[in-house]
Amino acid sequence: MAEDLNWAIGGEAGDGIDSTGKIFAQALSRAGRHVFTSKDFASRIRGGYTAYKIRTSVDEVRSVVDRLDILVALTQRTIDENLDELHEGSAIIYDGERSWEAEIPEEMTAVDVPLKSLAEEAGGAIMRNVVALGAACAITGFDVEYLDESLEKRFGGKGSKIVENNKEAARLGRDYVHENYDLDHLGYDLETTDEDYVLLNGNEAIGMGAIAAGCRYYAGYPITPATSIMEYLTGRIERYGGHVVQAEDELSAINMALGAARAGARSMTATSGAGIDLMTETFGLIAQSETPLVITDVMRSGPSTGMPTKQEQGDLNMALYGGHGEVPRFVVAPTTISECFWKTIEAFNLAEKYQTPVFLVSDLAMSVTERTFSPETFDMDAVEIDRGKLVDDDSVGEWLDDKGRFRAHAATEDGVSPRSIPGTTDGAHMSTGLEHDELGRRTEDTEVRVQQVDKRTRKVETAKEREAWEYREFGDPDADALIVSWGSNEGALVEALDYLEAEDVSVRVLSVPYIFPRPDLTEEFEQADDVIVVECNATGQFADVLEHDTLTRVKRINKYTGVRFKADELAEDIKAKLKEEVPA
């Protein structure tokens, strides 16, 4: 694997950290380098520590590591927060003219650049971060011209003057470092390639997948970290005849989405944390009325308000069991950013084929992390849309009873009933959260009750048989140790394999994107001496269901600090866990 560079900019929220990081990430991507970004942010608008981190390599990068090579520090706290990751060879870019006196460990390279003065020289103090980007280019040997396109993309809307000033700011930063420092000993020479990459995060991939899948209606209520799905769709979904509505609360959002779905639109809502609790009221109605709906939960640290801007995979039990009574559902959890795209499309197909709620479960780390991909990763020609048993004016006749009434909940062999949407002649029918007969009319008849419960259960059984509930596999297929993971941990886990291999530790990794239904791992567990389930929660919710499935005790690696797994750290955790006894 080629050497990678870990760069970060940190300061206070409101300092433009995010946009500066994004400009550099896009420039690296345009230079044909792979990029993986991560963000530290607090739940406040201004102030509080914020950082944007970039890991870049000519090889694919799938995770973050515990190392920082170049840090642009706008505050002392930025240095303090990252001391663990800084090392002897790290360079720290800071502005010595500013009011704070930087305390930088001796062994590191302090690069004092008058960011503000140079920015003013270029046309305004606001461009000091861009001066720092120029300085970073000088240190790494990265051609400052790659920044130009990113700057145009970012500031083009504000006029060519602004763009030119920013380009000048970057050059001033670069030149200052060249003139005042001899940094060849840092030894960076960022290789570029002819590859064309796109750079996007998990929430953008979900939004893009929704549009590709023909989603036309989105109702939501702003909540971190799900909101950016709504923001992505706003202004784009309209191009395809769709609409985004900001509801008054999550109860309204999910019911609006339900209404649009019953009207025949592919429809979605997304939320997180407390929002998913509020939506739980309607889960049963969606299942009972057999409405196709995609509900996305971008998980964050709970319970209650928990840590709204921090990572956790704590909602698996909610997705599996949320709602009173027994609610047939699907739970799909993408494991990578590209899967956020493809699993969203699959979620819409599953929802319509089986007329049931589909929970698309993502997490904060995936939602704010950007990664580079070849554009073909999102091959739109490969998108397939399956609307299931949607009847029209011609086919509705097969499903009418002897009195000409539409059998919306016909107890078919596969459990899937025909679906008619408003405007379909003779398809009018009533849907309800009450137990109902084939016509949708309320009943408490014991036989009909059993018939309808069995019917709804049967469609999940049908789906279990018909669909491929697969997992992805990495590492050594013959290894004695088996690691199982779900959600965004996959990247760190796959990179951890490199570290483990270097120490002759051989493991097999299964990354499972389907929580319910899910692949049967009994055989895989039986073949392994050791099974370790890796997840970002304290109790091991996925480990619990896998133990239940396979009747095998597993070891667990749980991280619930609010920070995602890092590849090198995870390798250490795995080594330690392999030495432990299997729990009784």
Binding site: S29, R30, D196, Y197, V198, L199, L200, E204, M208, I211, A212, G214, R216, Y217, A219, G241, H243, V245, E248, D249, L251, S252, A253, N255, M256, A257, L258, G259, A260, A261, R262, A263, G264, A265, S267, E281, T282, L285, S289, P375, F378, M380, D381, V383, I385, R387, I421, P422, G423, T424, T425, G427, A428, H429, M430, S431, T432, G433, R441, R442
Partner: protein
């Protein structure tokens, strides 16, 4: 079928389980007649209802319908209408459904001004749970949960609606069949959110707000020569707590419904068989 629709086409073959004499019979009949009279047919109509006696209405009518969860009927209707501008949407609920658990949705539905009709079957009592106070119950009305009255003023739904920027506010009485039907018809024909509070007496649990009471006290705003476009006059009527009235209280003739404001004209149920033709543009944005 639209040319020869009769109101009975909106009737299902399910026998209502409402108590004999319940005001909801008249409320529903008026809704069915108004729908037929305004040229709608069951296959192009969507009725949404919440929970309670009023929530049963979708079962007794014939059309596309959803009987949802308590208090959330308006968001469902909103979703249906936004996705399908071609479909007639009518939302029905009770005073508890609309002004208690659903009060938050009510004011937002009003200000969103989606082109649908909202009929509240107001009997000033919780009937299906056997006689508790509702948000429109009088402050001295004694019920199983308020033996000494609620000691709170009743909700004034029309005031809520007016404050939220309503473009159509009306009230009718289920027993005055012709006027009730006319008022619902006007609400359907209104471009925007047509809100009608219907006095729909509960003969089992409410012995105060009875048919006789409304017959004796009801003032018809039309007879009074009230001009619904007169906002100030509407405000005065609405804030007069001592008066029971029927008719169109307020109508904004310049109402621009949500769909028009947001350019929602397309049938959202119609999607291509694969990704949109220019979908790769969505990917290229991330270069």
């Amino acid at each position: 079928m639209s040319s020869e629709v009769r109101f009975t086409d909106f009737k299902s073959d399910k026998q209502p389980t409402w108590c004999p004499g319940c005001g909801d019979f008249g409320t529903m009949n008026g809704m069915m007649k108004a729908l037929a009279e305004t040229g709608n047919d069951p296959d192009n109509t969507f009725i949404v209802a919440g929970i309670g006696c009023s929530g049963k209405i979708g079962t007794y009518m014939h059309s596309y319908a959803l009987h949802g969860v308590h208090g959330r009927a308006l968001p469902v209707g909103t979703g249906v209408k936004m996705a399908r501008p071609d479909i007639e949407v009518m939302v029905a609920g009770g005073d508890g459904d609309g002004y208690s658990i659903g009060a938050g949705h009510f004011v937002h539905a009003v200000r969103r001004n989606v082109d649908m009709t909202y009929v509240v079957m107001d009997n000033r009592i919780y009937g299906l749970t056997k006689g508790q106070a509702s948000p429109t119950s009088r402050s001295d009305f004694e019920t199983s949960t308020t033996p000494e009255g609620t000691k709170q003023p009743p909700v004034n739904p029309h005031a809520l609606a007016l404050a939220a920027g309503a473009t159509f506010i009306a009230q009718s009485f289920s027993s005055d069949a012709l006027r009730h039907q006319e008022i619902i018809q006007q609400a359907i024909e209104h471009d925007g959110f047509g809100f009608v509070n219907v006095y729909s007496p509960c003969v089992t649990f409410n012995d105060v707000d009875t048919y006789d009471y409304f017959r004796d006290t009801l003032v018809d705003l039309e007879d009074e020569g009230h001009d619904p476009s007169d906002y100030e006059a509407a405000k005065e009527i609405i804030l007069d707590a001592d008066k029971e009235y029927q008719g169109v209280i307020y109508q904004d003739e310049n109402s621009v419904p949500y769909g028009e404001q947001h350019g929602l004209t397309e049938d959202m149920s119609d999607i291509p068989e694969g990704a949109p033709e220019d979908a790769m543009d969505l990917v290229r944005e991330f270069y």
